[in-house]
């Protein structure tokens, strides 16, 4: 079988693809930053003495982690509007769903990171007279976060891939843009090949950065000094 590859049409549509990539980037940036914030709150919740708070944290994390990401997106786009009576946009639904999705996985990273700090550190901070919030803020989290950085890097990569789920809501990120182009030009092979090349080109350096960071953190015993 001889297929005549032709990428030329894509150059002309480059700005369109770039627009899709920018939308992917925006979705990623919003979901990642709010996911980290949500994760911090729920991650800490899972380590506090209060059983009620720990329970709430656990329910959130387990509910989200055991639901396919696609269902989350669809739920926030089609199901939630029925409850609240306001039509959601694809952009909003994707942002909320992916933030919560990243938040649940980040919460686990925070929880494990906080648990990895030795009891002696908490005790020494307590013995000085620091409050629980100060112990967490100044003593435990700074040490824990260093150990979490590689895991967050992996999260960032997973999220970048998960943004393509928003194409099912017709949100104009990279994959959805590509679908439109492919159908319009009758060139799915070239278009989707180009999309995977773009993803690899963006994510491969990030993957290597994660591996590098992981080694560095491991070498310094979890403490990165500069």
């Amino acid at each position: 079988m001889s297929y005549a590859w032709d990428f030329n049409f894509l150059w002309a549509l480059g700005p369109l693809l770039l627009g899709g990539l920018i939308n992917t980037g925006k979705l990623w940036a919003i979901a990642f930053s709010s996911g980290l914030a949500i994760g911090l709150a729920f991650g800490i919740m899972r380590t506090v003495p209060s059983r009620i708070l720990r329970g709430i944290g656990m329910v959130y994390v387990e509910a989200i982690r055991n639901t396919p990401g696609l269902i989350l997106l669809i739920w926030f786009y089609y199901a939630l509007p029925i409850l609240v009576g306001v039509q959601s946009s694809a952009w909003l639904a994707a942002c909320v769903a992916l933030s919560l999705y990243t938040g649940a996985y980040s919460a686990e990273i925070y929880r494990a990171g906080i648990a990895s700090v030795e009891a002696g550190q908490w005790e020494a901070a307590r013995a000085i007279g620091l409050s629980y919030a100060h112990q967490m803020r100044y003593i435990v989290l700074p040490q824990a976060v260093m150990r979490m950085i590689p895991a967050f890097g992996n999260r960032a990569i997973e999220l970048a891939k998960a943004t393509t789920l928003a194409s099912t809501l017709a949100f104009g990120e990279l994959l959805f843009t590509a679908k439109v182009i492919a159908e319009d030009q009758f060139r799915p092979l070239e278009t989707f090949t180009a999309v995977s090349v773009i993803f690899t080109a963006v994510l491969l350096p990030l993957s290597y950065a994660c591996i590098w960071l992981e080694r560095r953190v491991a070498r310094s015993g979890g403490i990165v000094r500069d």
């Binding site: 013995a127 000085i128 007279g129 620091l130 629980y132 040490q143 015993g221």
Partner: protein
């Protein structure tokens, strides 16, 4: 002399296991009291109760004459202590603690370790805290390592930074829990010398130690803890040289099985 710490019938149990019973102890200003006793006798538990890292399950603690916590009478008519976390934070800020494992904060320099308490709790400015850190690092002879991270310091140096960290809060009393037990033998001396210096400067100290020579030379009083009670107490001469109780004698026999003459070298 004014009392700094008074324990009245202090008790502590973990579930069924009663670890401390009926501890009565007063430490006065400027006094150094050493606590000795076998492993598991409750020495660490005693210190941890004093700064409320563990909660006493009975008795009362007075710090500078003031009762810590609030007494309430429960349904069966027994009096019980209630503690508020905010009050306990304030108590801990007035009680310095030095741990066997140093527990320095590894992401901060020696100086930052010492500064964090004064800045966050006493509300000192960065510059004031820096000056105070320098003062206390100097007291334990480690000012030249102010900029070093704990990972770059020897055990003895780390422990002296930990002492400075506690001192910088200007506590009413310093607690030492086997401060030299985790150190290589050749590093024990520098920490004990720093502790003796503090004692001579009039620091009020409650010191759990296995260094009987330190207790003999530095302590005003020695307490022998046995199965959670104060079994014998007195001057170092009374408890360490002329122990009256058989348990104390057994303990001292055990830890001084082999003896040797004093090395013919100049002391530090």
């Amino acid at each position: 002399m004014t009392e700094v710490l008074r324990l009245e019938n202090l008790a502590k149990s973990y579930g069924q296991a009663q670890v401390l019973k009926d501890i009565n102890l007063t430490v006065r200003k400027g006094e150094t009291v050493c606590v000795i006793g076998a492993s598991g006798s409750g020495k660490s538990t005693l210190l941890r109760c004093v700064n409320f890292l563990g909660y006493p399950t009975g008795g009362r603690i007075f710090l500078e004459g003031k009762l810590v916590g609030r007494e309430v009478i429960d349904r069966s008519g027994r009096t019980e202590m209630r503690y508020r976390e905010a009050e306990l934070c304030a108590v801990r800020a007035h009680v310095g603690m030095v741990f066997q494992q140093f527990n320095l904060f590894p992401h901060m320099t020696a100086e930052e370790n010492v500064m964090i308490g004064p800045v966050k709790i006493r509300g000192l400015s960065k510059a004031e805290a820096k000056a105070r850190a320098a003062e206390h690092l100097q007291r334990v002879g480690i000012l030249e390592k102010a900029g070093a991270y704990p990972g770059q310091l020897s055990g003895g140096q780390q422990q002296r930074v930990a002492i400075a960290r506690a001192l910088a809060m200007e506590p009413s009393i310093m607690l030492f829990d086997e401060a030299t037990s985790a150190l290589d033998p050749e590093l024990v001396g520098e920490v004990l010398l720093a502790m003796r210096k503090l004692a001579q400067e009039g620091t009020t100290m409650l010191v759990v130690t296995h260094e009987l020579g330190f207790a003999y030379n530095v302590a005003h009083r020695v307490i022998f803890l046995h199965e959670g009670t104060i079994h014998e107490e007195g001057t170092p001469e009374e408890v360490l040289v002329n122990p009256k109780k058989p348990r104390t004698q057994d303990f001292l026999r055990g830890v001084t099985t082999f003896r040797m003459p004093e090395p013919r070298i100049a002391p530090a």
